[in-house]
Symmetry: C2
Subunit: 145 residues, 2 copies
Amino acid sequence: MSEQDAVLFANQAFYAAFAGRDPDAMEQVWAKDRTLTCVHPGWAPLTGREQVLASWRSILSGNSAPRISCHQEHAVIYGDCAAVTCIEVIESGVAQGERAQAQYLAATNIFVRVGHIWAMVHHHAGPANVDPRTLDDDAERPKLN
Amino acid sequence: MSEQDAVLFANQAFYAAFAGRDPDAMEQVWAKDRTLTCVHPGWAPLTGREQVLASWRSILSGNSAPRISCHQEHAVIYGDCAAVTCIEVIESGVAQGERAQAQYLAATNIFVRVGHIWAMVHHHAGPANVDPRTLDDDAERPKLN
């Protein structure tokens, strides 16, 4: 697996934890010994492991936890640090997968190399105007399994 | 100057170029030999030096270039890479400095160490609900001059 694929794999693990509403998996994704920061849509930035993980526990445990998927992932590696930009699609309609009911967010995710893995240190998501026809559902990407 | 101050100094140079509507200064802020990415408010992510710098030239040359200031900067250094989160205040009212007319954005800015300086490789800004009373106008920060 290339370094870029390894970063995208870590990014997918984040979205798998998010989509699976799994706070334990979410905690595993984030780096253990670094300063963590997070900007949820519409929120002011959060700083510190405790604040960031508490926000995720709150989001993932709520009834309104969104059905989310990640598209157009693009990873850039800067030494032991990597930034992923991507489009998040939030399905909020009754009819599953109905694009007309979807909301689109642009996201920035930052990872740092910790031994052989890439661990998340920052997440930022905010509203984006995206043409759904540009979403690359069938693009090749590293698989989690 | 500490490493953290050096990163905040680079962050301030970005906002000085932005506020000064100076495309040449803006180009200087960005790294020359790295992949650049940028998420403007409401836009999908842009990738590549040409696309990113063209977007800034377009924004800075328009009559609607915003009057912008940066607050609550927080820098975290991960080796040769650093992430700054901050609040951007966009003054759009007729009466200068009138907070009631201001818009607030949360921003993530990523810098990489290039020799002795920190160069920008990523910017992401999106709407944030911020209590203006929390803004630290008088906070101590490194000066550009």
